[in-house]
Symmetry: C2
Subunit: 304 residues, 2 copies
Amino acid sequence: MTQVANIETTKIGWIGTGVMGTGMCRNLINAGYSVTVFSRTKEKSQPLIELGAVWADSPREVAQQSDVIFSIVGMPEDVRQITLNPETGVLAGCKAGNIIVDMTTSEPKLAIEIAAEANKREIASVDAPVSGGDIGASSGTLSIMVGGDANAVAFIGPCLEVMGKTIVHQGEPGTGQHTKMVNQILVAAGMVGVCESLLYASRAGLDLDTVLKSVSSGAAGSWALSNLAPRIVEGDFEPGFFVDHFVKDLGIAVAEADKAGLELPGLSLARDLYQRVQADGDGSCGTQALQKALAKMSGLDWPA
Amino acid sequence: MTQVANIETTKIGWIGTGVMGTGMCRNLINAGYSVTVFSRTKEKSQPLIELGAVWADSPREVAQQSDVIFSIVGMPEDVRQITLNPETGVLAGCKAGNIIVDMTTSEPKLAIEIAAEANKREIASVDAPVSGGDIGASSGTLSIMVGGDANAVAFIGPCLEVMGKTIVHQGEPGTGQHTKMVNQILVAAGMVGVCESLLYASRAGLDLDTVLKSVSSGAAGSWALSNLAPRIVEGDFEPGFFVDHFVKDLGIAVAEADKAGLELPGLSLARDLYQRVQADGDGSCGTQALQKALAKMSGLDWPA
């Protein structure tokens, strides 16, 4: 029988306290886990410290105090740095039997590389990127896509259940990240469809709210259409999920597809379009800001 | 107060008895309406004749026997022919006060042209394309996107309610067709996303059913993912909706977008890809057959 993480005895480390990380770590603290925390900018950990988390001065020091070390940071380079840096990284502070869990959306090949490094030291490595945005992070309803050794995944199950609602073990190291890429390919195509269809509808002189009544519940229906199209109609481009992060994710997906010899023209198009959104200065808007860039390509403004 | 169609007194004409038309007309007959029917191939009307529909030898003769004349045929040219042909067309047989309702997915500009011709003769014209496939047609659960004069739309409301579940009046003539184009732009982008994401997942060595558990219920979720991805995983390309019909629809959407000065690169890409599916000989498969063409572009087979 596989052991599982226990609130009494399992010490948690947490690295990265952006919007996502803060919400997820808060749920662990509220569930009763002891947490040691590190973030590049210490002030960002302050809300968690006030809830009882203990500060450490580096990822390495976090690991020295912990059994299971979670991370959710920005770019793949950041994951590499916090994990593999020989002076300050997590692995430098780990003991045999520890489990490291990176929840950043990052490169599948990096997840595989880290798992191999960790295994040399009898440490288990799990990749567990998430979907569900800041709301899912704070409410504990994320979808968590998990790759890694089955025993390690079973051990951290109780922790993941505090953070997510849909938790699926996909297979060996890297499969969590690959599954997240699948998710982002779907999201990207969906956003292109939502934005192009609304642009068409607007130009055809249709009433957009009335159009959404016709198309939302049938074969054209999607999460994006139900949740983001109404914001686009209102001209609300506030971030649920940042364009800058999405461009990073799509870049990883394009690179992986290239490496695998796959021609995915819809993905390539979506990446190009989102780079335009960035170039237009909307990188810190939500992904629905694609609507503005798309309208601009036809010489139009949005809202019209 | 607007009059509405009455089962006792409103005589229905029906033109076009393909898979969709047969299911829809059967629901009208079963509801109690008297129906006169015409189809290019008489045998296809036989099941409706057996239910009580009366055969007529041309669209014109259908109109001579009817108050409200519905049509659902193949291409815009067919709509033009059955409606406007001076010898055999519906308008040639109509009386002032009649209502003609074309439910074919066709060109918005043709719907506008027909409405103008009809109005000259004090006939109302409604465009009312549908979404929901053969299952929606036979079960009376279609989404019906309606354009045309409000009084005429109100009059035929009871008939539409027999055929559909989501019935939304979008505005003047042509707006029903424009709304259907919005629907198809969404469907096309969604299918590109579903097929590319499954190809990526397969090539990454993921278990496809397990991947779908992770991605189906969150921000990547859609009708297509829930309903067509499982068929693609099984290698089931049986038609719910024919590729040939979808290529027609996307061609209309591309032409309308061009005319409106819109650059819709996702729509253009989807049209190109679906033309490849046709060129591969899969025009009579369901739209999910895009998966095969996409795999082929990367030198792969599907199922792998």
